[in-house]
Symmetry: C2
Subunit: 610 residues, 2 copies
Amino acid sequence: MSYVAPVKDLMFNLQHLAGLEQVASLPGFEDAGLETAQAVLEECARLNQEVIAPLNWEGDKYPSSYHDGKVSTTPGFKQAFRQFAEGGWQGLQHPVQFGGQGLPKAIGAACVEMLNSANLSFALCPLLTDGAIEALLIAGTPEQQQTYLPKMISGEWTGTMNLTEPQAGSDLALVRSRAEPLQDAAGQPDGRYKVFGTKIFITYGEHDMASNIVHLVLARTPGAPEGVKGISLFIVPKFLLNPDGSLGPRNDVHCVSIEHKLGIKASPTAVLQFGDGLAGKLPTGPGAIGYLLGQENRGLETMFIMMNAARYAVGVQGIAVAERAYQKAVGYARDRLQSRPVDGSLAAAAPIIVHPDVKRMLLTMRAYTEGCRAMASVAAAAYDGAHHHPEAEQRQQHAAFYEFLVPLVKGYSTEMSIEVASLGVQVHGGMGFIEETGAAQYYRDARILTIYEGTTAIQANDLVGRKTLRDGGRTARAVAAQIERTEAELQASGSAHALAVCQRLQAARQAFLEVLDFVLGNAKADPNAVFAGSVPYLLLGGNLVAGWQLARSLLVAERELVAGNEADFMRAKILTARFYADHLLSRAGSQRDSIVEGHAAVTEMAPEFF
Amino acid sequence: MSYVAPVKDLMFNLQHLAGLEQVASLPGFEDAGLETAQAVLEECARLNQEVIAPLNWEGDKYPSSYHDGKVSTTPGFKQAFRQFAEGGWQGLQHPVQFGGQGLPKAIGAACVEMLNSANLSFALCPLLTDGAIEALLIAGTPEQQQTYLPKMISGEWTGTMNLTEPQAGSDLALVRSRAEPLQDAAGQPDGRYKVFGTKIFITYGEHDMASNIVHLVLARTPGAPEGVKGISLFIVPKFLLNPDGSLGPRNDVHCVSIEHKLGIKASPTAVLQFGDGLAGKLPTGPGAIGYLLGQENRGLETMFIMMNAARYAVGVQGIAVAERAYQKAVGYARDRLQSRPVDGSLAAAAPIIVHPDVKRMLLTMRAYTEGCRAMASVAAAAYDGAHHHPEAEQRQQHAAFYEFLVPLVKGYSTEMSIEVASLGVQVHGGMGFIEETGAAQYYRDARILTIYEGTTAIQANDLVGRKTLRDGGRTARAVAAQIERTEAELQASGSAHALAVCQRLQAARQAFLEVLDFVLGNAKADPNAVFAGSVPYLLLGGNLVAGWQLARSLLVAERELVAGNEADFMRAKILTARFYADHLLSRAGSQRDSIVEGHAAVTEMAPEFF
């Protein structure tokens, strides 16, 4: 089997870190306890291991292809997507009233990880559909929701997010696509718009896995203000709908090409042309028919809510590809015989997994992956609390914590995934560089994760601006206070590993607090200095929170060991936490230095000096 | 122009760091002063910029291809190699008596960097040929030298290194290829051998750019001892030679396939079969005819000398690809307009090169590249001193310094090149992930550099074993003592930048010395602990030496600024050194921690726990 889902670790996090039993005490989640989680995760593991994972390398060999406006996905994808949809997996976290399972995000996120480990390219289709569903849930009229949600949740139709244009990437203020209101016979707006423009980098913007595609498109209405405050969001289905809900005429949105990419080759990245007139047969003439979603000029707000969901999911993609790269590297390291052990314990070539440097690489991969997984699990539970807790204050606290974690989950888990995938190649030695080995695919695939749904720098802007400055650092300090409590527990444990981890955690927290003071103190007076350190601040924050969650894991594992549960798993967890502390958390000091003391060169370096 | 050779920076290093004027005072290098260097570098830049660099992307699009035992290289490569050869570039550093230019390595290395920046795949052919030439110079009989060297130095023939077999990668003790002595009519060995075996990962093991290929092949003679002490080195030409030196019959060595790789696609990576009998027409029957190079059973020693040259060159490849990735990223960052400056200095989208995080990324790329380039330049000058200094003690000192630096140049420059190439993709945002942009090629190409010619772990073993333990840390301490003198100069300068750099350098040196004590003190008693930190030790060493050379550069630049020379270049140099100190050298402390305090988890983690 090319992938074995880490159900045990996912369940460990749900039970011991994310507090699933508490989540299951929230209204609406009564059936979502540990037993349900275990059953769902095992079923999910089966589908991903047996059906979807084997298509991963196929997708790399036989990417999506474009011909004459149509995109054919990798052979097998269509059937696999049917199985995925029929299993109800698209609707796992979505409301029961539209056909979903209504499970907590804490469980849903574990399933998202598996799907992405199995096949990053495949998983992007449901991932984007989830985002579109989210937007419709937030901003759609009851009629729009009834029209689109059941079909999307059942996997009959899929969804896309259309933001980027050639001149507008990170900077959506530059969006130029336009939407003109259509008028009825009496010259009054009839609620429809004609959308014109070119959108690029549209994931699954065209494909053959579903009968319709619901595009959500950012565009400007006539006379809309310049900049981000004049952007509206439109629903533009590939096929218009007849009054009875059946598929009607082809809309005037067309895929004109797909990109030739470094990785995730099976996922078609489309250039979409809205209103190029090729449809020709629409009675309204050229222009893609669209329907306003939410309020005019406030499209970006809705888009951001859905992007937040997508950003979290991309963070999970990082964890997912890291896990897969790790499993592959471990497998190779067990099989490959090369060189005698340095301690002379064997007089013949040993499996390279005994060599200290290979262990160090594998532990690095494992520690990053488990640390980020734990962080993501805790964040998901906070999301559930934010949406389902009966008390407003609790909801607000959970929301603040979740919002703070999103850029860390997205930014840190994806940055680490590149390093992990690269280590995976390294463990394979020369074989890692040969495409047929498969390790290189993860290295290529992972490379998009720090870019799409907002680059790491964009996540860092979000962290600095909306998540730190806006509340004057309150949430950040609350996180630090929680970490301090974990330190006290580590002290109380008193074991050598706990004490060592405690020391690192404390130093990292101090470094984080110093950085926080720096960010809060200088953002207004010297924004260039603060933003020179914005990504290091994000990486420090992610490092701290992931290390913290592993520290918590260590405490749990010590207790479980005493209780006689899963001894090997618990020992490995303790050592992974210790490794994380000594090798990764220990970087916090230098991260602090480069933020607090390292901006001079960045600021002074004139652009023309490069 | 897709590449502009950094002649100014290369000359800065030669003049101010490597001490080219001193090199030019050594016997044999009288004409190799700054003027010569400037002229050679400019001529080299022209060829690489105009002829070889434009073939880089071509090589990625149209890789070498295999058909029926023959390999066709990318269109244009053959002609470019002719130009390269006719310009005398293959012989730049090789002895005049065999047709070379006899220039110092200090100058040669600068030219090697340019060639590799222009085209990593193309450059591998001369790189391997250089290695083979080196081996022949060291171990060849006068007759062998006369037979092969002039043709190889002129670029008529090329050379290869045949080490790896499917079961023998890093561990050459496992080599199984065999060589049987041929006998004359009287039953006496006639000096020829028949070589049998399969070699993999043979760079330019077959191609169409030269009329003959001189393979150097590791194999065992009958009755040779097991392990590394029973391996001999053989010359196995693709075409045997007639007594008059003209090409004779095809030898029984054949390319049976080439690899499908992540990067350096234009460079054919061959599987070579020695003695599969397909030649058929040799009067000796199946078996590739080979000639012993050097002493029987001591092939590995020769191979190591030539591998040391190749390792240094691969380090330069890292610098080269980093430079090219940097140039591309700077170009994009100047052109791409996106988002307003965070300091509100412009009310419209600005070139992204003004954004602090983009500057931070570009400075990271630049600092790594310039730091490693400076380290490599100083190492090359030490090589020249080691081979040309009239005094034995001086030669010995230079040799020790050079030998110490080789694993750092190889290991650190290549590890950083992956990070730099990855940042290059990141600067491009979504466009970076599109293959046609070209940034992704560097990310793919760079990934081999930490693997071939000895993985980073193998370099680290070399650093720990042969370069640190063997002399009890004497060379390492001598390097630290030199660094301390630079610190004193920084203190004497007294400028804010110099003082800041001094502080980082001092801390990094202290960290290095603590690590050194740890390595020396524990290698025998606890080798697993020491080798758990071997790669971090290498990275710390590389970091320290590169940071040191930039600190020296800062001092030079301050003086040159006062003298009114090249103000912008010197200011950029100062800021690059400062950036390196604050963002990279500052990692030394955490590197120390993970070595000295981070081995417990690695050692305790049982292989079955992964």
